[in-house]
Amino acid sequence: MSALAKYRHVFLTGIQSNLVYRWNFAIRASFSLLHLVYVFILWGAAYSGKQEIGGFSIQATLTYFMLLLVLQYFLSPANDDYEISEEIRNGLINQFITKPINYLGYRLSLYFSARLVTGGLSLLPVLAAIPLLGPYIVFPGPEHAALYALAIPSLAFSALIQFTIAYCFGLLTFWFLEIQSFIILSLAFETVLGGQIFPLDLMPDWLHAISRWLPYYYQMYFPAALLTGRITDLNIALQGLAIQAGWVLALLALATVLWRRGLRRHTAVGG
């Protein structure tokens, strides 16, 4: 079986197992519309009597949050870290040590299949709400084409960063019994420094400058800012893409080191 065929099978199996939980995803996606309602009301009240905040209209800010929601479903790992942790704890990874399949490739295939299902299902309530949301959606015009083009590799890098962070957290199980606190702590940083509760350009300049060097900035904010016109300077965009690529490489290297070192600590038991 060719290398590609192996991972294609994993991907297809992943789609099937994710479809089993379609109602959970649909409920979760519907609840996320609640978040959108919250965002609309909060920012609507903040914009009351104002034409713009931080140089952006209310439509631009709401478009940013809507896009973020969609990207979240297509890019953010849902349970990958916990599943990896379970596989290590229960000894299920033993089969990957003896079989000709790369564990990172296997998990990455499952990540893509889960994202395809959750992303697709989350689009349904968003599409249903389009008649209501439509007047608030504004994207930059054709003059922004170069930045749109940069958003494509940026989205791919963003997926890799998000997956690799989850993968690394899962691998921490080789050293720690419980990894949930690490994950939730990282989620808190990600929520703030990834631009999920407010666009990062609204933060004080010093904090914004620091955040540009952290991986959280490139998880979601950077591609969303490229697509919604919050980043308009081509040089800054290229610089950001280079930093983002750097984080992808650094995190993949970290994942490889953690896997190798972790396996040295791992003890496979049972018949």
Binding site: Y21, W23, N24, F25, I27, R28, F31, S32, L34, H35, V37, Y38, I41, L42, G44, A45, A46, Y47, S48, K50, I53, G54, A78, N79, E178, S181, F182, I184, L185, A188, F189, T191, V192, I197, F198, L202, M203, P204
Partner: protein
């Protein structure tokens, strides 16, 4: 009746004692979780700070009134995290795995056993931080609450805890129908986001739904307002009635689910 209550109180105390011993056995884990909760609170305070860097008022609420609201929500949520969150979160997992049988075999009401088995000290250690946010906001607003106002505030925060518990229980109990709680606890966070919002910001259908139909806005607005404006008989009755009603709804959903439960173990 009294004997049964005493028995349950003793079971709860034993569970708390066990959880405290466990927390002290895994001190690193305890500190990490305390830090996690602290950062989530900081994130909410930062949101207020960032928005008010760009505006003076949200629906007529000043920055420190908003901080009072956010602090009150955090206070209620820290109490929920300390006493109930882990228990209800695990309910979702346990129904799927069949471990829920274990609770049915225990010498107490299943709902009580499910809700009180664990106590998270890390949630409780952040209660003073949330109180400090409330106190700081009150200080910056030059509030000088009377003892009566403080007592009502404490009562309303207690009602808030019951309301948050009810919302979480109602949502997690859906697991009896869905077979998996994967992702549904997110619904609780989706709903409680509205408790960080001034009631006046909601208008039209949103006001009908989030202010009047669901208790997600009054749960924080009523206690915050009692410190700013003093007691209001209508709001007090409204919050008390909502607390009783939603607890009844949540417990009914749980028991309806319990009747469907057929165990998952072999």
């Amino acid at each position: 009746m009294f004997a049964a209550m005493l028995l349950h109180a003793r079971i709860w105390l034993a569970s708390i004692r066990y959880s405290l011993v466990r927390a002290m056995m895994f001190r690193g884990d305890f500190l990490m979780w305390a830090l996690v909760e602290f950062f989530w609170m900081a994130a909410n305070v930062l949101l207020v700070s960032v928005i008010y860097d760009h505006t003076d008022s949200i629906a007529g609420w000043s920055e420190f009134e908003m901080l009072l609201l956010v602090g009150t929500t955090q206070l209620t949520q820290r109490l929920l995290m300390a006493f109930f969150w882990s228990n209800l979160f695990e309910l979702g997992r346990n129904v799927r795995s069949g471990h829920f049988d274990f609770f049915l075999a225990q010498p107490g009401s299943p709902l009580f056993m499910v809700s009180t088995r664990k106590f998270d000290l890390d949630g409780l250690v952040n209660v003073p931080v949330a109180l400090a946010i409330v106190a700081y906001a009150a200080h910056r607003l030059n509030l000088d609450p009377t003892l009566g106002q403080l007592a009502l505030y404490a009562l309303f925060v207690g009602c808030g805890l019951v309301l948050h518990y009810s919302m979480l229980l109602a949502i997690i109990s859906l697991v009896f129908w869905l077979q998996s709680a994967k992702g549904i606890e997110g619904g609780y966070f989706g709903l409680t986001e509205f408790s960080r919002m001034p009631r006046e910001a909601l208008r039209g259908a949103a006001a009908v739904f989030f202010v009047y139909a669901l208790p997600v806005v009054i749960v924080s607005n009523v206690p915050a307002r009692v410190l700013v404006d003093g007691p209001d008989a209508t709001l007090t009755l409204w919050l008390l009635a909502a607390t009783v009603f939603w607890l009844f709804v949540a417990v009914s959903i749980f028991h309806a689910g319990l009747r469907r439960y057929a165990s998952a173990s072999s």
